[in-house]
């Protein structure tokens, strides 16, 4: 017999053809430093996958597993699963991370085909647990990531919750800056291109005898300022006042429907210094493009009532996100 033929015969004896279609398993990275333990886990997993394949191919309704590779609990798990359906792992070279658990080790994401399942659900993933000695002690079908994704999707509107609380935190810092007369911080909180609009009640003289008999007309006029103009005026106010107390209430937080990093905050503000008090509606357009450095792009203030106590700004006159066109 020629050398070549001898090698081929030996090869066939040592490696029967069907093993060429087997699944191999290796641990890809290093939760396990002990080489002997790592080899044992790889061997036990390979055994499990080979047994699945051979039993499924034979059409047997029960599976027979050895305590040399698995604990009794794990054998019970697999026998229970096999009652519903045979399963097998497609021939491939599997490489997987091995995780530490409280009781040993775990390998996840082992693909198996569930023979009795409908096509759409036939491919599942197994999670296999090993005890500290490397024996398989649990086998289960993993809950797929998309199940968690489904759970997460139910909360998709609530995912915005965190961002809105960060906005409330920002608004509180904003309020505190006024109370502390912290011009430096206010300068950093306003965008350099911020639009600042302040409303002022202007009393109009009545223009007829009839109107003299009725309430005077009050009109709110709006003054537009740049950031620099506003902060200069504010700095003068801070210098002239001993005490400032700004309080906020009735805060609403609205996300822009098109730009999801733009929020509108509407609130009621009471401004109280040692010699002045007013109450009005404050609107802030806050840009979260830089999540750690949000900026006020628009600030508007509208008086709530005039000196006589008449309401001069109704709810539907309050500035909001829709009042401004955003150019990006």
């Amino acid at each position: 017999m020629k050398l070549k033929e001898l090698f081929a015969a030996l090869f066939m004896l040592l490696f029967p053809i069907d093993i060429l279609a087997q699944t191999s398993f290796t641990i890809s990275d290093g939760a396990i430093e002990n080489e002997a333990l790592k080899t044992k886990i790889e061997r036990n997993m390979t055994y499990l996958l080979a047994t699945f394949r051979l039993t499924a191919e034979s059409g047997k309704k029960t599976i027979s597993l050895s305590r040399d590779y698995m604990t009794k609990d794990a054998i019970d798990d697999v026998e229970e699963m096999w009652k519903s359906s045979a399963m097998s792992c497609p021939p491939m070279d599997l490489k997987s991370r091995c995780l530490h658990t409280t009781t040993g080790y775990q390998v996840r994401g082992i693909p198996v085909d569930i023979h009795e399942a409908v096509e759409a659900e036939a491919r599942q993933e197994l999670t296999v647990n090993f005890n500290k000695e490397g024996l398989i002690d649990g086998v289960s079908i993993a809950i797929e990531m998309n199940r968690y994704e489904q759970l997460m999707a139910q909360q998709s509107s609530d995912l915005d919750y965190t961002r809105r609380q960060i906005i409330i935190d920002f608004v509180e810092n904003f309020r505190t800056a006024y109370n502390r007369k912290d011009i430096k911080l206010l300068n950093s909180m306003y965008s350099d291109k911020a639009l600042i609009i302040t409303g002022k009640v202007v009393m109009e003289k009545p223009n007829s005898d009839v109107n003299k008999m009725t309430l005077l007309n009050n009109k709110v006029v709006y003054l537009s300022q740049t950031k620099q103009q506003y902060l200069q005026r504010l700095s003068n106010v801070f210098n002239k006042t001993r005490y400032i107390n700004v309080s906020f209430s009735d805060i609403d937080v609205v996300q822009h429907p098109k730009y999801d990093d733009i929020y509108g905050v509407t609130l009621r503000q009471v401004w109280h210094t040692d010699n002045y008090r007013d109450e009005g509606y404050l609107f802030l357009m806050i840009d979260f493009h830089d999540e750690y450095r949000p900026l006020v792009q628009v600030r508007t203030w509208q008086p709530y009532k005039d000196d006589a106590g008449n309401v001069v700004t109704t709810d539907d006159e309050i500035f909001h996100l829709g009042s401004f066109k955003i150019l990006r």
Partner: protein, 224 residues
């Protein structure tokens, strides 16, 4: 002064709110600074856990076999909850903490149901004045400071193979403010006894001024 007394005093100080602090001449800046100092200096864990009789709680089965949820309440939004999860092993209820169940395990961990928590909390504290201060403390210290006086709620917002994102809220009911941690942490570290969890911390966020966190956007007209 005995260490325990000092620790309890520091814990009380950490629970003061902006509202209360105005009475005591604190503002948000001072309040944020105070919380940071309490967290950094109180580095001896007291191992505070609320006592729960796991055999007497009302546990509902989950879709996962052998896993049960003890339903609590929600805070502000339906997903911000204080539910926790149990596993029944050989007829006995245990707190579920298993890498096969990352969502349930993360929930139990950050709601402080996992005993002997040796993990480290690495946080960035977003304070008044655009100040961000970093800290690394035993995670249990945070619970020892906040949990005795505050309710806890959490929401796991994202899970993938490598990372878990979650939001944890401590709520002071009487003074109506919250501290909030936004976790973004490697999956492996959750299950490592000495792992590190990473979070952004926001403190002293008043809730009494809020009318509506989620007003109906249809009430606001938008120019197209």
């Amino acid at each position: 002064m005995k260490k325990k007394t000092l620790f309890l005093m520091l814990a009380f100080c950490a629970s003061l709110s902006v509202g209360a602090q105005e009475k005591h001449a604190f503002d948000k800046g001072d309040a944020d600074t105070l919380v940071y100092e309490q967290l950094i200096t109180a580095n001896m864990p007291n191992n505070f856990h609320r006592s729960v009789d796991l055999e007497k709680v009302k546990a509902k089965p989950c879709s996962e076999q052998g896993i049960y949820v003890v339903e609590g309440e929600f805070y502000q939004v339906k997903s911000m909850r204080n539910d926790f999860y149990l596993q029944n092993r050989q007829g006995k209820n245990e707190i579920l903490f298993d890498v096969r169940y990352p969502l349930e395990s993360m929930t139990n961990l950050i709601l402080n149901y996992v005993e002997n928590n040796g993990r480290t909390l690495a946080f960035n504290h977003h304070q008044y004045g655009n100040v961000i201060k970093s800290g690394k403390i035993p995670m249990q210290v945070m619970y020892d400071l906040f949990a005795p006086h505050m309710e806890m709620y959490c929401m796991v917002t994202k899970i993938d193979k490598d990372t878990v994102n979650a939001t944890l809220v401590f709520r002071n009911v009487k003074l109506d403010f919250i501290h909030m941690l936004v976790f973004k942490t490697p999956m492996n570290d959750i299950f490592k006894k000495d792992g590190t969890l990473y979070a952004e911390l926001y403190t002293n966020i008043p809730q009494s001024d809020i009318r509506n966190l989620f007003p109906n956007p249809k009430n606001y007209r938008y120019k197209r």
